[in-house]
Symmetry: C2
Subunit: 366 residues, 2 copies
């Protein structure tokens, strides 16, 4: 693997570097996996494709930004490759989260390709194996997600970070994993209970998205660099606000988004019955102003399957005025998130970078 001049590592290069670190890490596991048996190498190849073809690397980007914000490039004695591996390890947590969520949400596609459980199900069917193809697909995917989760730990622990930096990373790492799993548990409980509380829907956004995607990755990177409590506090506050705004944008896209941009069917959240802040606000407003609309929204959510019914339900939600209220919340959270950056000193280019990321995260899906 190549070495880096960290000062050359501008943000646009991070996703490619993360890809290389992940690829190298996966290569390092090949021998151990092959020793268990060829079928396991086959199973792990699904995880490999998923991780290497994946996403915008937003969590590693934020972790790197946290490290740089804390002056890591100037003052830290940690090896840059080790810091990059720690940042890249977040992609394995994300792989577990997405592979398991796709089972939970019964999703067929992800990033324009079949989800892992559907791909394994197809393999089972093509080879006319024993037992239920669907159950086999889910079983392999549960285990592939588990493997991703333990490899996240391995990639961090074996990154080459100093013992002191690993110790400093504990609060962020510990918080993040419990929060994302807890947030996802809350999400499915709210869906099953047909929750209408804005407060609980906000908690899902806070823990499942904001903490996991922005606040804790920044916290992790800053801790590795040995940041002050003040800087960590400011970065976490930024992450809290921008992360919630990011999820509110996602909620709007889940109801009103263009499938060509979101990569998901129009109104997917309505079909699935997701208990978003948008939905809770729409019901609150409809209860005040139009009981008939409130009843129609309650009857449709999680039940609609036809595009025309989905579009009609989206229109009912729009007419409550909840969309405009959410847009205002996004604008306010973006403002307050950026203000937190002004309370502390950090390199000017990092402030610019966090400002850019905030705008990219909240204006449209990254």
């Amino acid at each position: 693997m190549s070495t880096f001049d960290a000062h050359d590592l501008d943000l646009n290069r991070i996703p490619a570097v993360v890809h290389d670190r992940l690829s190298g890490f996966l290569d390092s596991k090949d021998e151990d996996i092959a020793a268990i048996g060829t079928p396991v190498s086959d199973a792990v190849s699904y995880l490999r494709s998923f991780v290497l073809n994946g996403g915008k690397r937003i969590r590693p980007l934020y972790a790197w930004a946290g490290f740089v914000a804390a002056g890591g490039l100037e003052h830290s004695s940690e090896k840059i490759e080790a810091v990059l591996d720690a940042a890249a390890s977040l992609e394995f947590i994300q792989a577990c989260a997405l592979i398991h969520d796709d089972i939970i949400d019964s999703s067929d596609t992800r990033r324009g390709a079949p989800t892992v459980h559907r791909a394994v199900e197809a393999y089972h069917r093509e080879h006319s194996l024993e037992g239920s193809a669907a159950h086999f697909g889910e079983s392999v995917s549960i285990l592939a997600g588990d493997m991703a989760l333990v490899w996240a730990e391995d990639m961090l622990q074996d990154s080459g970070l100093s013992a002191a930096a690993l110790q400093r990373s504990r609060p962020a790492w510990r918080g993040m994993r419990t929060e994302v799993i807890g947030g996802q548990l809350l999400d499915i409980y709210l869906e099953a209970h047909a929750n209408e509380s804005v407060e609980l829907a906000n908690s899902v956004n806070r823990f499942k998205t904001a903490a996991y995607t922005i606040e804790r990755p920044l916290h992790l990177g800053a801790s590795i660099a040995g940041a002050s409590p003040e800087l960590i506090g400011a970065l976490r506050n930024y992450g809290h606000d921008i992360g919630i705004a990011f999820q509110l944008r996602d909620d709007l896209l889940g109801v009103f988004g263009d499938p060509a941009i979101t990569g998901k069917p129009a109104g997917d959240d309505l079909r699935e019955g997701k208990r978003t802040v948008l939905l809770a606000k729409a019901l609150e407003r409809a209860d005040r102003n139009s009981p008939a609309a409130a009843a129609a929204i309650r009857a449709g959510i999680g039940k609609v399957t036809q595009p025309a019914d989905i579009a009609e339900l989206a229109q009912l939600i729009r007419e409550t005025g909840a969309e405009a209220e959410i847009e205002e919340m996004i604008a306010n959270l973006t403002t307050s998130g950026l203000e937190h950056l002004e309370t502390v000193t950090m390199p000017a280019e990092v402030k610019t970078l966090l400002r850019d990321l905030a705008i990219r995260s909240t204006e449209r899906r990254m």
Copy 2:
């Protein structure tokens, strides 16, 4: 939590001490979980019951034995509470493995009580929640298992072991988690492929059981105490042989065991279609001596559901002579496993203890 005079900690007290450590750890997570939301505390309560009502604590026992074998009580400067937490953390890996395996095996009961996914399914039904009760039960259980897996890491990393001991624990910890997940992946692939290879069935025993249950826990405890490579090698060899013998005993019980002792229905492995070494050996022998019996075994495995058909299939397997061959393998592995202990020096009482554990593990289910 009480402190310990480690020299008073005989093996019989370890399960109770492990229970207390696990209970204390779970208490320490309560506040973080409650902050995410009450429904998450409800979900986590299933994990709590599962972990605290669980099993014989065989993995923590072996980890503790490894620590004592390496002279940890005399020569180590690690805090005893930290070592016990590291040993107890293995129970969270086990919780994840069992909760996820029960989904994969579609098991209804575990330790005489409903499995977690069935218990959550019943909760969904009792409260007439939205969506499929069975799917909700599986979804919550996937996430509860994920939580257990990250809490295993937390309990080890936050145990208070020194940075040096944590570093020494890496090979055992890293190997164990990949091996148990890889072994379980191999197991379900062999089942789906109707595998008849003795060698691959042996690999499942080696990685899913022997490494995970005995070899790596011993390795972990010995590493924490700073054991020599020779001692670690001898303990691992012991663990390899005794662990495989333990699984072969389990395979015999899965076909011929008394439900009153195993806690599972008679012949459960036959109903499930488990591709055990016992089955592979039976088919090998039947192919040589009785093609009609071989055909009947192949037709029945994984297909039988009625008690009479299960009993008939078990009888066919017994008549191949495979049962006697497996008994001989168990006896040979127990002998060779115990011989490994004679190649190194360790406190006499630890040798007695490992000898006792070997006999308890291989003579009947622990």
